[in-house]
Symmetry: C2
Subunit: 121 residues, 2 copies
């Protein structure tokens, strides 16, 4: 289900970078094709990992949000980022520092921000 090149990157962008719209996903530096992005979003919705709704402030946009099942991937993402930081190219240094300082606190923050952005909808 997460066994493809893009799904986890989309979730990472939602969780850690706060991406919410089609265009924001496209602008993440890894260049995903628009048809593939549309397909992955559709699949993530069908798996129950994200949901979507129209943007109330701009009728052209759709907002994509993580579900509970989606935000529950935060520990997986965190461990992946930490592993990559140790063994691959260096990613977001500030984020990695926060994760290392206090992993539980970091995860609580991720989940709190998620809950807040949901309640605003």
């Amino acid at each position: 289900m997460l066994g493809d090149r893009w799904s986890l990157l989309i979730i990472r962008d939602m969780m850690l970078r706060g991406s919410r719209t089609f265009k924001e996903f496209l602008d993440s530096y890894e260049r995903i094709a628009t048809n593939i992005l549309a397909d992955r979003l559709r699949k993530l919705i069908s798996y129950g990992v994200i949901t979507t709704e129209p943007d109330p402030t701009d009728g052209r946009k759709r907002i994509y949000l993580l579900t509970e099942k989606g935000i529950a991937l935060a520990p997986v993402m965190t461990e992946m980022v930490l592993w990559a930081a140790d063994h691959e190219e260096t990613g977001n240094q500030a984020l990695v520092r926060l994760m290392r300082e206090d992993k539980e606190k970091f995860l609580a923050g991720v989940r709190r921000r998620w809950a807040e952005s949901r309640s605003r909808e």
Copy 2:
């Protein structure tokens, strides 16, 4: 690098099920084609996640082993298994119970068994 359907499953089998040979990977219930398996093993080696050496007790076999970089994926795997147990089909119940009881202890056990199997080579 882990963005494909099979690489993480191979690593999971090595880490959690103790698979070490080509045939053992094939016998994991997810049916991977032999050409793809050979390709993924080659790529995992080139990424430095696993190594391989001949089996001293059977000249036909090759033994595949996780490197330090590979075993460092244990926390990622653990979180994935826990997430899947909560949100997808139920996997290995006994393993999940162990992980939940004491994650740190579980991870220490994984790493200890890895170190022991390495020193025997």
